[in-house]
Symmetry: C2
Subunit: 217 residues, 2 copies
């Protein structure tokens, strides 16, 4: 597929940049504000966290959950997440999220700053995977950059897939998928796919809660 | 110098293998036993930790210290250590220990499983650097593999510098310096350099406490 090379480069960025991953969380006031929002979100029961990264969100989920299954493609960020999320409730899985499919259903599927890294052509499949991972009454809960996030990024103009350039401290350069979803457009897109979604802006980012299309549970 | 390439490879091993660094601490009973020994060691005042790795020892030092300055060459392991050692007492420094020289004096210089990675030809310089980092009454405290540690290693026979091979999960292969010091020989060597050392075996490893040659403080 056309975006395979870009997704491989995105994965390399998070593998090679694991040591720099936490920096925005230390430096950006909006992220600290966003992390505090978890307490107000409907995190419950068995939680699946997609693209957990270095586990900035994982311990917060664990305090609200019966269990957390946290998935990421990079052993490097998972090593940091394991230290950060020490609760016995948390289990880590290393897997490429574009290949991996959950083996069970969950009460909550959570993803922070992951939706923006999914190529638009893959979004219908992505949401279908999330729906398939949810048991009856289950909900998707997600946070991500809103359109304002583009200001801090080196966006690649005229790229076939919305993308940005990220650089590591050693000067190395990576292209990543980066879609700055507008909360209203995203709500409409989800509605068109049969979801029921409420998405609100928080500190320049957005927070969404969505129920999948009703299925014969 | 002859061992520069080997030291570069050793540094690459710890950089590339950061995600696998903690595994022996999870798996090896002797290491858990060894970590518990910290409570009995003369850790005091301002502590300099050399080669802190992923910070397995750093939080234990912090509970006993006024401050901890923890140095390692790898940003990758430091990222994990930063998550593990969250005390405001701890400051991390990224530096190549074969180049770096302390800018002040400390009450304790601590190093766990670092001495065995120092090439024998560099040991006199190493101990001199440690002595120079210690203020009046200061002590070096160290733990490392004893001769029994060689059993679990792929030792490189007839290598100009005592070395072993380490492999990462992806099959990549690195040579590292690895000297399995005998506690008695090490005590004699330190005595010859003017140190006063007490080194005792613990769980197949050894724990040492040493005072440097008296200097005009």
């Amino acid at each position: 597929m056309d975006d395979d090379a870009l997704l491989a480069e995105q994965m390399a960025y998070y593998r090679d940049g694991a040591a720099e991953y936490d920096r925005p969380y230390a430096e950006r006031e909006d992220l600290r504000e966003l992390l505090a929002v978890v307490d107000d979100l409907p995190i419950a029961g068995d939680v699946l966290e997609l693209a957990c990264g270095t586990g900035q969100w994982t311990p917060l989920l664990a305090t609200r959950a019966r269990s957390v299954t946290a998935v990421d493609a990079s052993a490097e960020v998972l090593a940091i997440a394991r230290v950060r999320a020490t609760s016995a409730k948390v289990r880590f899985v290393r897997a490429d999220l574009f290949e991996w499919r959950p083996q069970r259903r969950y009460d909550t599927v959570f993803f922070a700053f992951w939706l923006s890294h999914v190529p638009p052509t893959r979004l219908p499949d992505f949401w279908q995977t999330v729906a398939a991972a949810l048991g009856p009454g289950g909900r998707a809960v997600f946070v991500d950059d809103g359109p304002a996030g583009a200001r801090g990024e080196e966006v690649l103009a005229d790229h076939p897939v919305p993308a940005a350039v990220r650089r590591l401290d050693d000067g190395s350069r990576y292209r990543i998928v980066k879609v700055f979803h507008d909360p209203r457009t995203l709500t409409d897109d989800l509605t068109a796919l049969g979801w029921s979604a409420r998405i609100r802006p928080v500190a320049g980012n957005f927070v969404g809660v969505a129920e999948p299309p009703t299925f014969a549970g």
